[in-house]
Amino acid sequence: MTGEGTLHLTYLRCELRRRWGQALCTAAGLAVGVGLVIIVSAASSGARNAQSSVLSGLEHQATSNAAASAIDGAVATTTGLAADLGTWVAAAALAASFALAALLTLASVTRRVREFGTLKALGWPAHRITVQVLAETVTVGIAGTLAGIVLGCAGTALVAVLGPTLTVSVAEPPGSIPPPGSIPPPGGTAGGSHAPPGNESPLAVAVHFSAPISLGIVALAVGLGILGALLAGTLGAWRAARLSPAAALTRTG
């Protein structure tokens, strides 16, 4: 490694050690955002799997086109609503973690105004200061993203363990004949028995809900975590690089 690279690394290490509390907050914020993205994406994927299982199970049992269509619509709507809600929650958490990272980076730059003024007086060009601030924020961002992946994996593992077994039941239109093999509903009849006139005979399928993680989900989370760190770092670096050295050096505190 060049002397220049070693110097930047030493500076980075010492600076993160000095601001460990702030670095921890930034990393924790990004970890929560990234973790939620993983959990929601995996849960959404799990919901789609459950939807397919439910549909294939019920459609197999349903005896009329009308029933099949009703099942399809109801399950798809429920799955869609759950996925939408999860996506919004994850997006809000991610946006909040980005904002937190940006605010903490800007606060750090403001506290270090004299330091950047001194570096400029030493002849550091703006791009070198930009690289320093970006490197600090991206390092914290990578740590937060890794922690977020661990958090996300733990969350989805918890869903797998605690995940409910979903029982979906749909009322058959009057007069239809439930096929053999359908699950007998509580208080109802199945397996070829006819329901009394005026009563509807429900169909039911049980599916265990889980949240499987794919490589794509992890890649998305890593991408978003790094993007958040880059956005925050760019904002801080831009502010640090634009500082007037004269004003920065006369700043008190």
């Binding site: 220049e4 110097l7 003024g117 703006a126």
Partner: protein, 236 residues
């Protein structure tokens, strides 16, 4: 070294315009030691910042080695600061978490030196200020005088032509002040530096070759420029 012609610097402060420099004309010779005195708020630090390329004049020209600093693009003026000019601050401005050696090494960052060359330069600079054995210490583990020595080593490690010092002994006791000024005087003489020092202390100012008085943004001298006589070409 420096030629200043009709230099003014004004600032906007709310709805008011504040004049920090109101037309400064001066010639500072190569190798000269110039002390600048004057009451607080009369433009001493502003003048030093213009000489160091940290700020630009509102009007007039500041020539360093014949080149107009006010007209240089930012990247070039950063290169001039890196190569030509060493700064010494009243409050030392060391980075508290970096060991002494790394603080000094920061001044070499703009140069393409390898790690071994950097270490050699830093060791030499620390030895020159009597702190060879303190390289791995943090600034907080040093006294004020030692911290200022580190500041001097950081200013000199790149072997500049000009040394600009803003109240370098303002935060030090009398004994330490004398040690620091003796060190600066020795370095100035041995290295043929052009030294411009802002100071409130008349004892220190009296040791300079020439004294400039800054009052109401104007600079007057007690005598003509005192050439020390050394030239250095512009870096390629």
């Amino acid at each position: 070294m420096y030629t200043l012609t009709g230099v003014t610097r004004t600032y906007r402060k709310g709805s008011q315009t504040v004049t920090a420099l109101a037309g400064v004309d001066a010639v500072i010779a190569d190798g000269e030691w110039l002390a600048i005195q004057g009451p607080t708020g009369h433009g001493k630090t502003t003048l030093l910042q213009l000489l160091g390329g940290l700020d630009r004049p509102t009007s007039g020209t500041v020539l360093l080695g014949g080149r107009n600093m006010g007209a240089m693009p930012e990247a070039e003026i950063a290169r001039v600061r890196a190569t030509w000019i060493g700064f010494i601050f009243q409050t030392f401005n060391l980075i508290p978490t970096l060991p002494v050696a790394v603080n000094v090494e920061l001044a070499l960052a703009p140069f393409q030196f390898d790690a071994a060359e950097r270490r050699t330069c830093v060791a030499r600079a620390l030895a020159a200020v009597g702190l060879a054995d303190r390289a791995s210490h943090l600034p907080a583990e040093l006294s004020g005088g030692q911290q200022q020595r580190v500041g001097i080593a950081r200013a000199l490690v790149k072997e500049p032509t000009v040394l600009l010092a803003d109240e370098p002994t303002g935060n030090l006791d009398e004994t330490t002040r004398d040690e620091i000024i003796a060190l600066l005087e020795e370095l100035w003489r041995d290295r043929g530096l052009t030294l411009v020092m802002v100071t409130h202390d008349s004892t220190i100012a009296a040791r300079a070759q020439r004294i400039g008085q800054m009052r109401d943004g104007r600079l007057t001298f007690d005598g003509p420029a005192a050439p020390g006589g050394h030239e250095r070409p512009w870096p390629a």
